[in-house]
């Protein structure tokens, strides 16, 4: 999968920048710490947008392309912010044969974004995942920590509305 680059405006705070700055300060002498710094940056910001990757590249004194190459190679890194509610759609074998692709398509349609993206109000993001260990309930999706099983595309809208109304 090609990594999707978010077009949403970067909204980092001074505090976040300070936090990342401190981590870089402690690691910059050892270039092998780059991955660790990137992981910490993702914990701080939730994703690794251009502005954050530039901070890392400058701070660690490595080319920006090196940071970007790593961020697009490993699936743990994301270039798109997570929404307040993150929807993981399982595309593992059991879910897939039970029609999870259709469920995913429906989620995308309802929210108007693609997997790996976040809505502009930052309420929802979608990610694809592989098996969350609930094959008996296939097809399943997870929203934050809650699991929804035995789904049909028709169920999707109602579930999403529930979260929309919560906020």
């Amino acid at each position: 999968m090609k990594k999707r680059i978010s077009t949403l405006q970067f909204e980092g705070t001074e505090r976040q920048a300070r936090q990342l700055g401190n981590i870089i300060e402690g690691c910059k002498k050892d270039k092998s710490m780059l991955m660790y710094v990137m992981q910490q940056a993702q914990l701080i910001y939730g994703y690794l947008p251009y502005e954050v990757q530039v901070m890392i590249a400058e701070g660690m004194d490595v080319p920006l392309e090196k940071v970007y190459g790593i961020s697009t190679f490993y699936s743990q890194f994301t270039l798109s912010p997570k929404g307040k509610n993150n929807i993981s759609v399982c595309l593992g074998t059991a879910c897939y044969v039970k029609g999870s692709k259709q469920v995913l398509d429906k989620v995308c349609e309802v929210l108007g974004i693609n997997p790996g993206e976040c809505t502009s109000d930052r309420l929802f993001s979608i990610e694809e995942c592989r098996c969350i260990g609930a094959c008996g309930l296939a097809p399943v999706i997870m929203i934050n920590d809650e699991v929804y099983g035995n789904l049909a595309p028709g169920d999707v809208e109602g579930i999403i509305d529930k979260y929309r109304n919560k906020n």
Partner: protein, 581 residues
């Protein structure tokens, strides 16, 4: 170092300990095909074309990175290996744009050559989904067509290791892996220095210079235009390779005749403006040296270096000579002095440069390179490769051409101008003239051999009538980075630094003919080509910039003296810090 005994296809051979199977094979007179391997630059064993059987390994091993041991027996050409290489090629072709008929690298493509040699008849054996990419044409000097990329990483290695620029790399993974810049930004909007080294190491047609030949042909056809052309020093030693001449052959005479037959109205020599650069730069050096300000003076001839400085070392901008490069000076003089002398409106003059360089395309479009307001000094820049294509297309039999002579008044270039094309050449040329400027007479020995050669960083100290001049020369931007970091930290002090963006200088420029890895891995093309230029220098009647009669006349008739007000307006420029993100 200890030697070890190995066998390659049954041939016994003794090689230094630590040698790879590929090196052992070469020592035994056996060639193993390679694709991703570039000696010293890209040794990653990724493409699997160079696989061999080794007695001390179970599967097939990549010979370019496999170290042989005492007693290792290597087989390089068994049926099993040939089948494996063929399958690898078929897999590469499964995601490759195979428009070989019209591809710019057709007949000079390393993938095409291997497919022919290994008899790949079925190009569609692994037909299936193929990646679709837009061609990136955003940069002033080149384009990238990822549908022809085989992901060998030679370009990214050149960008990172040779040049320490690293604006391209492998993005995404698996089938989606592709070479691009961070955040998929177009090449024209990242801190690329336009050196073109990536193009010269690319085995296929994925990377190529922006083709400006039609622009030049249109100007030649236009009856209103006086089309004049200048040829850079390193062109005369590069062009011959496109027509089968051995590395290092000087083809100045044929080059001139070919340009005349292509329809250029006047054929001039950039060596002339290289001499002009030396006069201006030597005066600048002396001025700064006397006042002890803004030292070291750093050369400004290499536009790849200028881009590098503006992006990565802006703190050195005050040190850089304000001289335009020889290309820029030529264009500026052509549209001012020459236009006046010939009674031609400068807007009817179309200046073409033949350059061993891709960054010159960028330079020609820079602000500050316009001696006549509204007109660029240089209208079009062609690399040696583009010129060779024009010559071939026009049916000119290059090898049979009689030798021609450059036109006056910019046809005379000194030996000092010629050696601009090799690393250390500008420093040597400047020293020849600086000695004269300081002592009033020429140095007894004109060769300053300490600054010659292909080492990345060279140093020398000269005592000129009690004035100690400390000189450093760097070629290849990763070497420039090392040198500048030492100057920055105070570890080293110099009065004069020459920097060329490309390793070995312009002879190895990004616009020179492409030599395949099979040549680059066994021959130092920089040394061979530079040797041609140094020989040319010895054979030229004038070897000192300040003795060039065309230059003397130019100052008498127009500029009065070096660094005069008029010279500053026309021959000098300025540089600015640019944001690298």
């Amino acid at each position: 170092m200890k030697n070890i005994n190995v066998k390659v296809n049954g041939i016994a051979v003794s090689v230094p300990e630590g040698s790879t199977a590929l090196e052992a094979a070469r020592a035994a007179g056996v060639e193993i095909p390679t694709l991703c391997f570039l000696k010293g630059i890209n040794e990653i064993g990724a493409c699997r074309i160079c696989v061999v059987e080794a007695s001390d390994a179970r599967g097939l091993v990549a010979s370019c990175v496999y170290p042989v041991k005492e007693g290792t027996e290597i087989t390089t050409n068994s049926e099993r290996l040939i089948k494996s290489r063929k399958t690898t090629l078929e897999l590469i072709l499964s995601d490759h744009n195979k428009e070989c008929l019209t591809c710019i690298r057709s007949t000079n493509c390393e993938l095409q050559k291997l497919c022919r040699e290994y008899g790949v008849e079925n190009q569609e054996r692994f037909a299936g989904e193929m990646n679709k990419y837009d061609i990136d044409q955003s940069a002033a000097h080149m384009y990238r067509d990822n549908e022809k990329c085989i992901l060998c990483r030679r370009c990214t290695a050149a960008c990172e290791k040779m040049q320490s620029v690293s604006v391209i790399g492998a993005n995404d993974r698996g089938f989606d892996t592709h070479i691009a810049s961070p955040f998929e930004l177009p090449l024209g909007s990242v801190a690329c220095v336009s050196c073109g080294q990536c193009i010269t190491v690319c085995p296929t047609g994925a990377l190529s210079e922006r083709d400006d030949t039609q622009k030049v042909i249109d100007a030649i056809i236009d009856p209103e235009k006086l089309v004049i052309v200048q040829t850079a020093p390193a062109v005369r030693v590069g062009l011959g390779e496109e027509f089968g001449y051995p590395l290092g052959t000087i083809v100045t005479g044929k080059l001139i005749t070919a340009l005349r037959r292509l329809g250029f109205d006047k054929v001039f020599d950039t060596n002339f403006s290289a001499d002009l650069t030396i006069i201006e730069e030597a005066a600048e050096l002396l001025g700064r040296y006397t006042k002890k300000e803004n030292l070291p003076l750093i050369t400004s001839c290499s536009p790849g270096w200028i881009n590098f400085a503006e992006f990565y070392y802006p703190e050195f901008i005050p040190n850089i000579s304000s001289c335009k490069s020889p290309q820029g000076m030529f264009g500026a003089v052509a549209k001012t002095y020459y236009a006046e002398k010939m009674g031609v409106d400068p807007k009817d003059i179309f200046v073409v440069s033949i350059m061993p360089c891709t960054a010159k395309k960028f330079e020609a479009e820079r602000a500050g390179h316009s001696a006549v307001p509204g007109l660029p000094d240089v209208d079009a820049v062609l690399t040696v490769r583009e010129l060779a294509r024009m010559i071939k297309k026009s049916g000119i039999l290059f090898n049979q051409l009689p030798d021609g002579e450059y036109d006056a008044p910019f046809g005379l270039g000194s030996g000092a101008g010629t050696i601009f094309g090799a690393t250390g050449g500008v420093a040597e040329a400047a020293l020849r003239t600086a000695v004269f400027n300081i002592t009033g007479k020429n140095a007894e020995k004109l060769e300053f051999t300490e600054v010659r050669g292909t080492q990345g960083i060279k140093e020398a100290t000269y005592d000129v009538a009690g004035n100690v001049i400390r000189v450093a020369v760097a070629s290849g931007l990763s070497n420039a980075r090392k040198l500048l970091d030492m100057v920055k930290s105070g570890e080293k002090e110099y009065d004069f630094i020459e920097i060329m963006a490309c390793p070995g200088g312009c002879v190895n420029g990004g616009g020179q003919p492409i030599q395949p890895a099979s040549v680059r891995n066994v021959t130092d093309i920089r040394t061979e080509r530079a040797a041609g230029l140094y020989k040319d220098d010895l054979n030229l009647p004038v070897r000192l910039s300040h003795e060039n009669p065309d230059i003397k006349r130019l100052y008498e008739e127009y500029f009065e003296c070096p660094n005069s007000h008029k010279a500053h307006e026309i021959l000098h420029t300025g540089f600015i810090e640019r944001d690298k993100y």
